[in-house]
């Protein structure tokens, strides 16, 4: 008991100078926000997915690609579940490089690439043609592709939510923000290249929901979580059935086992 108290005291004493050093640049733990899709029975909120898609399209897509999502994913079960005509309309709003025309040309008279409207089978086009162009437009920083971002970061949806809402937080005294970067206490090093992405009414929601920063962040993180795991609902649904089946089977197997072994002990 005494040893434990001494260890605890030693730990506490050692933590104080450690905290003074690390409070400056180490990332804070992500905010504790809840999402509808968490837990074994969680599902994606359809409204949040559709609103989140709107936030992605109008705010994030200027810099961030979503290359693993195809337009036909927008009308599939388990996702935003737009209708097929709606998904086709969304696709048609994007222009993609067209294949060679009958003369074999891929550019018009002025040297501009020939374009065609996207169809359901196409994937979301990236905002920049390559990494170098992306960096050149963003002060040397590369905006990551968002189609996997929620799975590719420790802390998942909570981390992405914290980054997006914490960006542009008031800078504590004594902290030096690097030139061309912004203060985000949830980002390791606390200097992030992305300017604060969300403001009140960054988008005007088509369903009339009030577009606070928290709402926009919640919706876009829900959408990005779906983008990372479009099969989540199917997975949990199947899992429930499989586990129920297995538990019943285990019960039967246990009874069979007891019966076989009844006289053997």
């Amino acid at each position: 008991m005494r040893k434990a108290l001494l260890s605890a005291a030693a730990l506490g004493l050692m933590a104080i100078p450690a905290m003074a050093q690390t409070a400056d640049t180490h990332a804070l733990a992500p905010k504790d926000v809840a999402f509808s899709f968490e837990g074994p029975f969680g599902t994606y909120d359809r409204g949040a997915l559709q609103r989140g898609f709107q936030v992605y399209k109008e705010v994030c897509a200027a810099c961030h690609a979503l290359s693993h999502i195809a337009f036909h994913n927008l009308d599939e079960k388990g996702g935003p579940e737009f209708t097929e005509p709606q998904a086709k309309a969304i696709a048609a709003g994007y222009k993609l490089p067209a294949g060679p025309n009958d003369k074999g040309e891929t550019t018009d008279d002025k040297g501009q690439p020939l374009m065609r409207p996207a169809i359901l089978a196409d994937y979301f086009p990236a905002p920049f043609p390559n990494e170098e162009a992306a960096r050149a437009s963003n002060g040397g920083a590369l905006p990551p592709d968002l189609s996997m971002i929620v799975k590719a970061r420790e802390g998942g949806p909570q981390y992405v939510y914290s980054i997006v809402t914490g960006d542009g937080s008031p800078v504590p005294a004594g902290f030096h923000v690097t030139a061309n970067k912004y203060y985000d206490p949830y980002y390791e090093g606390r200097n992030i290249s992305m300017p604060p992405p969300l403001k009140v009414n960054s988008v005007t929601y088509s369903d009339g929901t009030k577009a606070t920063v928290a709402q926009e962040a919640h919706d876009v993180v829900t959408f990005l979580s779906w983008a990372s795991e479009p099969k989540m609902e199917e997975r949990k649904r199947t899992g429930f059935g499989v586990l129920v089946f297995l538990v019943v089977l285990a019960g039967l197997l246990f009874k069979a086992y007891r019966k076989v072994w009844k006289d053997a002990h």
């Binding site: 199947t238 429930f240 297995l246 285990a250």
Partner: protein, 419 residues
Amino acid sequence: MSGQSTYNPKPGFETWLDQRLPLPRLMHDTMQTFPTPRNLNIWYTFGGILTFCLGVQILTGIVLAMHYVANAGLAFDSVERIMRDVNYGWLMRYVHSNGASMFFLAVYIHIFRGLYYGSYKAPRELIWILGVLIYLLMMATAFFGYVLPWGQMSFWGATVITNLFSAIPGIGQHIATWLWGDFAVGDATLNRFFSLHYLLPFIIAAVVGLHIWALHVPGNNNPLGIDVKSPQDTVPFHPYYTVKDGFYLCLFVIVFAGFVFFAPNFFGNPDNYQPANPLVTPPDIVPEWYLLPFYAMLRSIPNKLFGVIVMAGALVTLVFVPWLDTQRAVRSNRFRPLMKQFYYVFIAACLLLMYCGAQSVDAVRFGVPLVWAARLGTIYYYLYFWVLMPIIGLIETPKKLPASIAQSVLGDTAAAPAE
């Protein structure tokens, strides 16, 4: 025990087949009537579970290989296509990745069971050595497999581990270049790793066949560690152990399904959902959990070559266990109260090594740099096999063994020693 076959084929097709290829006879003798000690407990069920795991990995792996593309520019995307577009592709992928973790969980329990009950002792030394070979093949297969999705961890884990070969004096760099097929891990490396990842499981299956064949010569060991003396000591494998193994397998699959359907990325590392970037090193390069103890040993030695020798030596040590343990009178730790204590410390040392392997190299806990904890764990690991096992066998006084398995199980149960 390998003895006379009691198979009596029915007249007609069964007799015709038995005269030409005695497969049904083999099935009958090994899986139906095989005399198995009647006192096998839950720790003995993992051999069967491991066979199930191997089958699941091969089946899901073959299916994944129908859609996976082993090209550095396409691999990551092909895995995402599997997850998003292939019917039940997400299920195949998650079963395969979590299946690898379950496979290693089962193999560690299986190995620790062998260590506790002295299953490696005469006449079962070769079963143990074949088992060590299977374990090494599993680690190689898992290593190659983890590279295939071509994420950040895939690439950098491959870089770290293949770079170890460059530690060999003189020819080391040539070996590394030969392994890579390039001047660094790249497309050439990925392709050959895919080929080997597909091949090794079938080699594992063959060695598993030898492992079970070697087992069936003396028959199973048991928790008491005493030999079978009469038919009263055994029961036929079917239905006694088919139903018991079936029940425990079902429990295992429940745990497996829990991970696959509700926490499929629990064992994984988020960095591997980022495509491989040879120009950006992740802050912490960590292998999958089942390789962490050896990773910790490697990193605990500041000298690169010596670290490789210590890590490899830990695996080679396992081959010699049947001869390092000098206790010939009893097999099972149930009757070795002193050895038992050191065994539990050994488990703790392995868990400590696993924990250290997961942290960053310069991590500090309770004011202690973890690298010292890893060194402690490594020292105990070597101590346990090379010092404790030989010495304790010579100086300990084992407890008295029961007269027979049957007497222990069917007779006065109060006389049966607790675990």
